[in-house]
């Protein structure tokens, strides 16, 4: 039956087209009718500061509730309801802005351009979820982030992503984070906002491409749990780092794990780690050797990444409007481009000398090359840490939620017999196991 339901997922794609209706572009020229005053464009006032603080207050409240629901009350239902509230408030009502993910760029720009004034609310949106994560794990992702919430809703038939793919795709958020910081700090673009797949839904408006992009994410999200959070979200990358050292975090069983294996496939986000087995001496030696080799290779890997980052300088600079204009004007000047564009026409009309534009573009090239080196260094470090991380073996004796990857959604609670005992739904864990199999098979993978 479920398989048949899957037939509906293409409908999500169609959702995109429905939103085209609200496209704001003006298809008609304004009518000029006697006796009628054509209204002039009105621009909305910036959001009042008091309302900005209201958003911050809602954020703090939602984070507190999420942490309480995930860690204390251990209620999946409460988390789910909170996620819907966040989706409505931060998503549809606030139209996806302000958001913590985008706030990375405001902070980066404020650091890169001292003349940029950043509002306190944005700083709060950047810092507060990080602070909560340091104490309670990724409760922000579970039910406060509207992007997480919308994906949580559509995670209906999750499949397990192979570990190799999951680990390698896990690199992308860090690269995206680095690139977003570079583009924001250089004042080029806020790429996180420009390529936010869900903002078009929140606003019921957007370009056809962005709607299709978003619909694709939702469609993939049907099978792959939270694809944006896991494989793209730059803020998620930061939260992941913070969550690894968090003071408290979500546990699968309320107290002791009985290693019943009931939860081993429960997490749609691949965040449940099974207990480990003893390593053989040969494997241990090989692992040690591998780690040493990786450390030895570190300078090479770092060097290659920095070199590659430098190579990215010029291509990245092409996203900057000034560079784009300079390249176009140069093409026109040397006769390799025919005609002019609106941008080049506007430039010629200003009377600004070409040389000044070129000089400015060349300075931006230099700036981007420098930024490229830093980006390369960052990617190199991430790559190295990832490689070393996969080489170091940790010992686990029970089923645990991965410190970094667990988004505190609480889906695993239902599978845990100890949780059901805690809730008073059954008298003892054995009862749950009997119900499950009808037998007394309680074999576990690793006996305690």
């Amino acid at each position: 039956m479920i398989n048949r339901l899957l037939f509906f997922w293409p409908l999500l794609l169609l959702l995109a087209s429905s939103v085209f209706a609200a496209e704001p572009a003006e298809l008609l020229s304004r009518p000029v009718i006697e006796g009628h005053n054509t209204p002039t464009n009105a621009y909305p006032e910036p959001r009042a500061t008091s309302l900005e603080y209201l958003d911050v207050a809602v954020l703090v409240l939602a984070l507190s509730l999420a942490s309480y629901f995930a860690l204390r009350r251990r209620s999946r239902r409460a988390l789910f309801v909170l996620a819907i509230f966040s989706l409505l408030w931060f998503g549809f009502l606030r139209e996806g802005c302000v958001c913590s993910i985008g706030a990375i760029q405001n902070v980066a720009l404020a650091l890169g351009d001292p003349t940029y004034g950043i509002s306190l609310a944005i700083v709060a949106f950047f810092v507060i979820p990080l602070g909560f994560t340091l104490f309670f794990g990724r409760t922000f992702c579970s039910s406060v982030c509207p992007l997480g919430a919308v994906q949580e809703l559509v995670t209906l038939h999750p499949v397990k992503v192979p570990t190799w793919l999951d680990r390698s795709l896990g690199l992308i958020p860090y690269i995206y984070l680095g690139a977003a910081v570079v583009f924001a700090a250089t004042g080029t673009a806020f790429i996180i906002c420009e390529y936010d797949p869900f903002v078009a839904f929140f606003r019921l408006s957007g370009s056809a491409n962005m709607l299709i992009f978003g619909a694709c994410f939702l469609a993939i999200g049907f099978y792959v749990g939270r694809p944006y959070c896991r494989y793209l979200c730059p803020y998620g990358a930061l939260l992941k780092l913070a969550s690894k050292v968090s003071r408290w975090r979500l546990r699968i069983p309320p107290d002791e794990c009985i290693n019943c294996r009931l939860c081993e496939d429960a997490c749609p986000y691949g965040a449940i780690q099974p207990p480990t087995v003893e390593q053989s001496d040969t494997d241990r030696r090989a692992a040690r050797l591998r780690t040493v080799v990786l450390f030895a290779l570190a300078p090479v890997i770092l060097g290659v990444c920095i070199w590659a980052g430098g190579k990215l300088g010029v291509p990245m600079s092409h996203l900057h409007p000034e560079v784009l204009l300079a390249e176009r004007v140069r093409l026109e000047e040397t006769g390799r481009a025919e005609g002019t564009t609106d941008a080049s026409d506007a430039f010629y009309n200003t009377g600004r000398p070409r040389e000044e534009l070129y000089a400015s573009a060349l300075r931006l090239h230099d700036q981007f090359t420098k930024a490229g080196y830093w980006l390369g260094a960052w990617v190199g470090i991430v790559l190295l840490v990832k490689l070393i991380h996969t080489s170091i073996r940790r010992r686990r004796t029970e089923f645990t939620a991965d410190r970094g990857n667990c988004v505190s959604c609480g889906r695993c609670f239902w599978y845990c017999p100890a949780e059901q005992v805690r809730l008073g739904l059954i008298d003892g864990v054995e009862q749950a196991l009997e119900i499950r199999t009808g037998t007394a098979a309680t074999q576990t993978t690793a006996d305690k």
């Binding site: 085209f20 298809l27 008609l28 990617v379 499950r436």
Partner: protein
């Protein structure tokens, strides 16, 4: 939606009749319905979107036809109504469509919500606990999964690197071919400092380029300290007593034995006595002392005066400059930097040096570092140091201890093998240091006792010499101690060794000059002595090679030698008339040498001073204008100059009070204008019209440029009175160009080097005596009062031309007859007013756009005198009918307005001389020689003074003295309360009808044939 198990049914089973199964089935069906609904809505929305995207409602044939019909016949009201109705219908249809899609969107959202809720419910109800298969032994998933993950991560990393490289290749930049010059060009633009015309433009870099250094004489013995200057047309004979070959001679106020250094048009010397240490700056054009700055003592400065020998003195070291600042060190160990305006930038004290004769090593520079060889005491005292200071701050960059005794040579900096080496001479070592960090590169022990001569270098051969023990040729490139290394120590020589003069080396010859007057020539390669030349004089000054001539300044004489293979030929001799122990500086074909008391500039007449560098701003500042004499009657056309030390008596025949007198090649009645060290005159005859540029320093005619006729110029010469001539209007300058207008209506601009910038013709003016109104300027605009014909002819105009291009900015017709006054520009109430006088109106125009501000009808017939202003009091006068005092600030016609027309008088009126107005006095000069003083507030006549001469020149007030140039005589009057006192008289020996220019304490006046400079010696 419920995801949590209930106590009754903790793990719900899909048993057919239980309520869970019912709910489950309901959820699945709802999902189907919602999905179908969503599908239909989405399909409709897609179709609608497609239609709206492709179909423009106003593009239908019927609509277009209707529209065309209305356009063709706008009076067809029926068609208009139909079009309006159609238009409204189409628009309403469009907005209905838009509403449909909005509603559709919400329906789709609702469908979506139902679909998701239904599926979610179904999934939750269908959820079961998993049944993990029992395993026999725990499987180690970690190993192979993580290995695969590792490789995947690595592969992704490689993918990223490859992508970056590919992107770099596939997205090239079109700007790569642009030179690096473009990078800096526009960066520099907004920051280009606006500087005074004569100031040096500050370079972008913090140190000068090699070319800049080579073009100047920045240190002792010039660029590199080599004592070589490029071939130039220097005189080979000069005599300070007769003035032959001497361009100028200036007294040096503070004594010292340091040599001059020159940067562009600035020359620097140091001087010191027991009380003070000063840096002096002279203008190379005329030797004028521009400033003299004392290097203040620091708290660390020694209180005691150093003991020095008379030969050395307290200011023996020569300064060094990098074009930004000049650096000086003195015998007491004080060092300082002064900027080009004479402001002290920093000072510091190195402590009193223990030096047997007095510290004498000159400074060197490398990049932005000042290099000091600060040797003192005996070698065992370990007091000697080589120090590098930051030029901008004086902070020590490095300091290296030297195991040498006190010494007197100056270090040189040379580059070898890419390493900048500072080469120092002292007893007993020649030591080379790395200029970057002061580390020692090599040393050679070849000097003893009191070492005076500085090293010199040619190619990679270094020549060091001292009276004892020898001269040594060393090949650069050694390391460590090379004393015994024959690869680097090339040869030595022991004849006629110098004790203070530094050697001079070319690729072929090495010359050394012994203090007792023997110049010896050696082969550079062999070290073989080739010849000797002997003089009777004593020598402290080092020899300098200028082209192929060697200049030797002895204590009392100077010889110019032409060295050959077998001997030297004396080609000239010079005499400074005083003792000389310093070495000369060269720049721009001139030689500068300091004698015991004077600084001399030796050169051939005609070697121009460096032309003043003009400001980058479009027009000069008020200060610049006030400091010059840019137009007829000077700044503001007031005829007033600040008090200065002008002579009150002069006589061109005896030469008393006359600094110079130059014939003016072209006749003209225009007056001189002066900017910086340039004086401009115009001249014209029937055929040509010229602008002449003179050097104010010596009156030399620098250039004479003809203003070419334009296609619009009329071929016929204008009819002019003899008194007026073809070149009566005075030129005007803005420090960038000089502008001139002539009697035939041609106007032109010439730059300071005499090159034509533009020329244009305003047409032959219809003028009864010849056009005579001088030019005025406002900002970068040249103001031309071009009055002609009778009033009824309506030919008169006032024009503003763009100074840079000559293009007309505005031109205003004037309701006046031809006239001869010059306009003035004054600011009142924030508005720049151009005030013009003509028959019958005084009219003020806004300089911005030429719009008329006010007018007053108070002049008649031939109007000659120009207006003059003091504060807000404007005085206009003419022979007929009156002199009128007008308060500025009126609007419209103020002729009858007593608020603005203050008073009028009708006595002793002038016909060509302009009034002189101060805040409480008005002076008029009638052409028959009556000079009258009025009270400015009431117009009351205070006194009269009468001369027998005839006057066309306007009176000029210099301080509290009035200079009146009559046709044949000049009187200097001191006006008082009740009368004027004659305090002096001048005689030019020729007729004069022009007004003087006063600049820099000198007065310039054009006579019938000559230009005179009157001033005190």
């Amino acid at each position: 939606m419920s995801e949590e198990p209930t106590r009754d049914n903790p793990t719900p089973e899909p048993v057919s009749d239980n309520p869970t199964q019912v709910w489950y089935r309901a959820a699945v069906r709802s999902a189907y319905v919602a999905g179908g609904f969503l599908l239909v809505v989405c399909a409709l929305l897609m179709a609608d979107y497609g239609t709206r995207l492709t179909k423009d409602p106003l593009d239908s044939d019927a609509y277009r036809a209707l529209r065309a019909k209305v356009v063709a016949d706008p009076s067809d009201m029926a068609a208009r109504e139909t079009l309006r109705a159609r238009d409204q219908f189409l628009r309403q249809a469009y907005f209905r469509q838009r509403r449909f899609s909005v509603v559709g969107t919400w329906l789709a959202v609702a469908g979506c919500v139902v679909l998701i809720v239904s599926i979610k419910t179904a999934v939750t109800l269908h959820r079961r606990l998993p049944s993990p298969e029992p395993v026999d032994a725990p499987k180690d998933l970690d190993t192979w999964e993580t290995t695969l993950a590792r490789w995947a991560v690595l592969a992704l990393g490689i993918g990223i690197v490859v992508t970056a490289a590919t992107l770099n290749r596939t997205i090239p930049t079109e700007l790569a071919s642009l030179t690096s010059a473009i990078r800096t060009e526009s960066v520099a633009k907004p920051d280009t400092p606006v500087v005074e015309p004569t100031a040096v433009v500050e370079p972008e870099s913090t140190w000068p380029t090699a070319e800049e250094l080579a073009a100047n004489w920045p240190r002792f013995r010039g660029p590199g300290g080599l004592g070589m200057a490029p071939a130039t047309d220097l005189p080979t004979a000069w005599d300070a007593e007769s003035g032959e070959g001497i361009l100028w001679k200036t007294a040096v106020p503070i004594e010292g034995n340091s040599s001059p250094v020159v940067w562009e048009n600035r020359l620097f010397l140091t001087g010191a006595d027991e009380q003070q240490r000063v840096v002096m700056c002279f203008d190379t054009a005329d030797g004028k002392l521009l400033w003299q700055t004392e290097i203040p003592a620091t708290p660390e400065s020694p209180a005691e005066t150093p003991k020095v020998s008379d030969d050395t003195g307290l200011a023996a070291p020569t300064t060094v400059t990098d074009g930004l600042r000049v650096y000086a060190v003195f015998a007491n160990g004080d060092v300082g930097a002064v900027d080009f305006q004479g402001k002290v930038v920093w000072t510091k004290s190195l402590g009193l040096p223990k030096n047997s004769y007095g510290h004498a090593s000159s400074l060197a520079m490398w990049r932005d570092r000042v290099i000091l060889q600060f040797d003192q005491g005996a070698a065992k005292d370990k007091l000697s140091k080589l120090i590098a200071l930051d030029g901008a701050t004086g902070n020590e960059v490095w300091s290296t201890a030297r195991e040498v005794a006190n010494s007197w040579p100056s270090p040189i900096v040379t580059e070898h093998g890419g390493i900048p080496q500072i080469i120092t001479c002292a007893d007993p070592f020649v030591i080379a240091y790395h200029a970057e960090d002061g580390s020692e590169l090599w040393r050679c022990s070849c000097l003893r006792q009191d070492v005076g001569p500085s090293p010199t270098v040619v190619g990679d051969v270094l020549i060091v010499a001292n009276e004892y023990p020898q001269m040594t040729a060393i090949r650069l490139g050694g390391k460590g101690d090379i004393t015994e290394n024959e690869e680097f120590v090339l040869w030595t020589a022991e004849d006629n060794l110098p004790d203070s003069c530094s050697p001079l080396a070319t690729t072929e010859h090495v010359y050394i000059l012994a203090s007792f007057g023997v110049l010896t020539c050696f082969g550079t390669e062999s070290g073989e002595m080739l010849w000797e030349w002997e003089s009777d004089d004593m020598y402290s000054s080092s020899p300098t090679l200028v082209g192929d001539l060697i200049y030797l300044f002895g204590l009392e004489s100077c010889h110019v030698l032409k060295p050959g293979e077998e001997g030297a030929e004396v080609v000239g001799q010079g005499n400074l008339g005083e003792e000389c122990v310093t070495s000369p500086a060269f720049r721009d074909g001139r030689m500068f040498i300091r004698g015991k008391e004077h600084l001399f500039c030796i050169g051939k007449q005609g070697t121009a001073a460096a032309a003043p560098k003009n400001s980058q701003a479009a027009w000069p500042t008020a200060e610049e204008i006030a400091a010059n004499w840019p137009r007829f009657r000077g700044p503001g056309g007031s005829g007033i100059a600040p008090a200065t030390d002008l002579p009150t008596e002069w006589n061109a025949e005896s030469g008393d009070g006359i600094l110079w007198k130059t014939p003016v090649p072209m006749p003209g009645n225009s007056s001189p204008v002066v900017w910086g060290n340039r004086l401009f005159l115009t001249g014209a005859d029937e055929k040509q019209r010229v602008v002449m540029g003179f050097d104010t320093g010596d009156g030399k005619l620098l250039w004479q440029t003809e203003i070419p006729g334009t296609p619009e110029s009329t071929g016929e010469p204008p009819k002019v009175m003899e008194d007026t001539g073809f070149a009566a209007p005075t030129a005007v300058t803005d420090g960038r160009r000089v502008y001139a207008v002539f009697a035939n209506g041609d106007v032109g601009a010439v730059d300071f080097d005499g090159k034509i910038v533009w020329a244009k013709s305003l047409g032959l003016p219809k003028n009864s005596y010849g056009h005579a109104s001088s030019l005025a300027m406002w900002h970068d605009r040249v103001i031309v009062q071009f009055d002609q014909g009778a009033r009824k002819d309506q030919l008169s105009r006032l024009l503003a031309l763009d100074g840079a291009t000559g293009n007309e900015v505005w031109s205003i017709p004037r309701d006046v007859a031809n006239s001869w006054p010059s306009p003035i520009v004054v600011e009142h109430g924030g508005i720049p007013q151009i005030i013009t006088c003509a028959d019958p109106f005084v009219i003020a125009y806004n300089a911005e756009d030429g719009s008329e501000l006010w007018r007053c009808e108070c002049l008649r017939q031939d109007v000659g005198p120009s207006p003059a202003v003091a504060g807000d009091l404007l005085i206009v006068a003419n022979e007929y009918p009156q002199m009128t005092a007008i308060r500025l600030g009126g609007k419209g016609d103020i002729t009858k307005n007593e608020e603005f027309v203050l008073w009028a008088v009708e006595d002793n009126l002038p016909d060509s001389c302009s009034p002189l107005v101060t805040k409480d006095r008005v002076y008029l000069l009638a052409s028959y020689g009556l000079f009258t003083c009025f009270d400015a507030s009431s117009g009351e006549l205070l006194w009269e003074w009468e001369s027998e001469d005839m006057y066309s020149s306007s009176p000029t007030l210099v301080g509290d003295l009035v200079y009146l140039f009559g046709l044949e005589r000049c009187h200097v009057l001191k006006p008082g309360e009740e009368a004027a006192e004659v305090v002096g008289q001048g005689n030019l020996g020729e007729e004069c009808v022009t007004s003087p220019a006063i600049h820099d304490g000198r007065m310039f006046i054009r006579g019938k044939q000559h230009l005179f400079c009157i001033g005190n010696q």
